[in-house]
């Protein structure tokens, strides 16, 4: 670089430097805007989760790392740190559940899967969103869950619900949902991971991109686990043309053949 430059050269250099600074200042912001624009938003500017979603993970087979067995594929699991921190007695129950899983899993009755299992169960779920709430229709059992997003609070006189009571609020583009007042009748997966009615779930829903939801949940239950633990699961938007949920009331299978009446056979 010459020690002395012509004034014109210097102006050019300063201009170039300035333009780089300007670029450096705007580039990341620009990048964020570009990324942001890719996710769908409602009239209220909140991320719009409307659509039909399903995970490709094997979380429902076993939340923890698992090797292929007759009724499951291999998977690294979705639990942060790998293992669920069971209390000793609860771990014994979990082992019993695993042994009895072909008869004891509530899924086998067609029962509502609960939270968070219904989210990562391998069947589609449809999210219907409006400012005051998000309604989730699960294909399995056609269970309907409401996440209230209207600044309302958990009720004072709760029942123990299969799906708990869900109250959500927005933290930036993340929907944070506090879920409690559960019963103890659902499982967390088909390997017998379970909870008590003290279950408390905090979900974090975020659109990773227009067609992917990053779903995180913190699971807490003082009767079963030694500390809260976290899972991360991704849900993918169904891309098939004209895709739709198909009702699933399999709990009627035991008796549905008796209807409707048919003409007597001669």
């Amino acid at each position: 670089m010459p020690l002395r430059m012509q004034s014109g050269q210097r102006v050019k250099e300063i201009a170039t430097l300035l333009s780089f600074m300007v670029l450096a200042f705007f580039l990341p912001v620009d990048h964020v805007f570009a990324h942001d624009a890719k996710i769908p938003r409602g009239a209220d500017k909140k991320p719009d989760f409307s659509g039909i979603w399903e995970t490709t993970s094997s979380a429902d087979e076993d939340l923890e790392p698992h090797i292929a067995r007759a009724d499951a594929s291999s998977g690294v699991g979705v639990v942060e740190g790998g293992e669920i921190p069971y209390l000793p007695q609860a771990l014994e129950q979990r082992k019993k559940n695993f042994e009895n899983r072909f008869t004891a899993d509530p899924r086998l009755r067609g029962a509502t899967l609960g939270v968070p299992r219904g989210i990562y169960y391998r069947e589609p779920i449809q999210l219907f969103q409006r400012p005051r709430d998000i309604t989730i229709v699960h294909q399995f059992g056609h269970s309907v869950r409401t996440i209230h997003t209207n600044n309302t609070e958990h009720p004072d006189d709760p029942n123990d619900w299969w799906l708990g009571d869900s109250r959500g609020h927005w933290e930036g583009d993340t929907l944070v949902v506090d879920v409690k007042h559960f019963n103890d009748k659902t499982w967390l997966d088909r390997s017998g991971n379970f909870h008590s009615d003290a279950l408390h779930v905090v979900e974090r829903w975020k659109l990773a991109d227009a067609n992917t939801i990053e779903y995180k949940a913190t699971i807490e239950d003082k009767n079963v686990f030694s500390r809260p633990w976290n899972i991360t699961v991704y849900l993918h938007r169904h891309p098939e043309k004209n895709f739709q949920l198909i009702e699933d009331y399999r709990h009627t299978l035991e008796y549905e053949q008796h209807y409707p009446p048919k003409p007597d056979t001669k």
């Binding site: 086998l108 229709v137 409401t146 600044n151 029942n159 198909i246 549905e256 209807y259 409707p260």
Partner: protein, 343 residues
């Protein structure tokens, strides 16, 4: 039913003595849910059919206004749909008896004789004019067997499937408990106590015809104040009520939901065409009313409650709708829920 147990014990237990006192006073047919309660072989003691003092509850209409399809001049949602979202209920009676909706369950002993027919709401059959289902003889006989068997079932088909928490189906879901109508771009969503219906407004093709469903597969569109819905893939398994009428899986069903301009009412007009069972098409008309903030829960038609808020905003919200999971069979021949369905 879980909601009876749930509300009866948890929410309405304080009213059980009022219930018993009012039961003695009330004519059996004067309460929407009384027919329901007394027909249960395994009733819950404190069936929550009583409106607590100071609350209003829906009137049991003996007549209702005719609504005509036409322009919609009420409020619209951003996507252009007439805004009719909310909690809705039937107004003239439940599922006991379709041809005489306020006469109670057929072949059930009555405490006092019925008055003249014109004192009660009309048949839900608005066409044919005589208010009767135009059954083929064999089907009429089957329905008669059901009406007798209903009180002492001698085969599993005498159990009304809804009593085992099967979906109420089309059209019965509209004259059972209250229900939610929710609207989204491209969809109208009905959420009933037993089952839900997603009405697709985008004209996508129906599901493959071999898939038969309790609630069928619905495609709809708005014509002014009227939601017009075509229901296919219907499995015919959900009986129309305790009077046992039904269609087969061959039925075509065209529905019109005609809304009043003030958004407070609609009339459902469902036309069923099923040459397997009937001699001609027929139309079922069901009046419905929307709940406003003036009403409070009556535990049957409106089971919602006020959300807890820190502000003055008022929101009606509904408990999760769960049925068979919470129940064993509850009488009339219904058995316990299956323990294991698949392996």
């Amino acid at each position: 039913m879980n909601h009876m147990i749930k509300h009866g014990i948890k929410r309405f237990s304080g009213y059980s003595s009022i219930f018993l006192a009012l039961c003695a006073m009330a004519a059996s047919e004067s309460s929407l849910a009384a027919d329901e309660a007394k027909s249960k072989a395994q009733p819950v003691a404190a069936t929550p059919v009583v409106t607590p003092p100071g609350q209003t509850r829906i009137a049991r209409e003996t007549s209702f206004p005719k609504l005509v399809s036409g322009k919609w001049s009420g409020p619209r949602l951003p996507d252009g749909q007439p805004d009719i979202s909310g909690l809705w209920s039937n107004t003239i009676g439940n599922h006991s008896n379709l041809e005489d909706p306020q006469a109670g369950v057929i072949y059930e002993a009555r405490k006092k004789p019925l008055g003249p027919r014109e004192e009660r709401a009309p048949s839900r059959i608005s066409d044919p004019q005589d208010g009767k289902f135009p059954f083929q003889p064999w089907a009429k006989e089957k329905v008669e067997q059901f009406r007798i068997g209903f009180h002492n079932p001698t085969n599993p088909g005498h159990v009304e499937p809804n009593a085992r928490c099967a979906p109420g189906g089309v059209p019965k879901s509209f004259y059972w408990h209250g229900y939610d109508i929710l609207q989204y771009p491209g969809y109208v969503l009905f959420v009933f106590d037993n089952g839900s219906r997603i009405i697709h407004l985008d004209n996508k093709p129906h599901l493959p015809s071999k898939l038969k469903l309790w609630n069928g597969d619905s495609r709809g569109h708005w014509e002014g104040n009227t939601l017009v819905v075509d229901v296919s893939n219907h499995n015919g398994k959900a009986l129309f009520g305790r009077s046992g009428e039904f269609v087969s899986e061959n039925a075509t069903i065209k529905e019109k939901y005609i809304f009043s301009d003030d958004g407070k009412r609609f009339n459902y007009e469902g036309t069923f065409d099923d040459p397997t069972i009937y001699t001609r098409p027929f139309t079922i008309t069901i009046p419905a009313i929307k709940y406003t903030e003036a009403e409070d829960s009556d535990g049957w038609n409106l089971e919602a409650r006020w959300a807890k808020t820190k502000t003055s905003a008022k929101y009606l919200e509904h408990d999760e709708r769960i049925c068979f999971e919470n129940n064993g069979g509850f009488g009339l021949g219904a058995t316990d829920t299956p323990q294991v369905l698949v392996k």
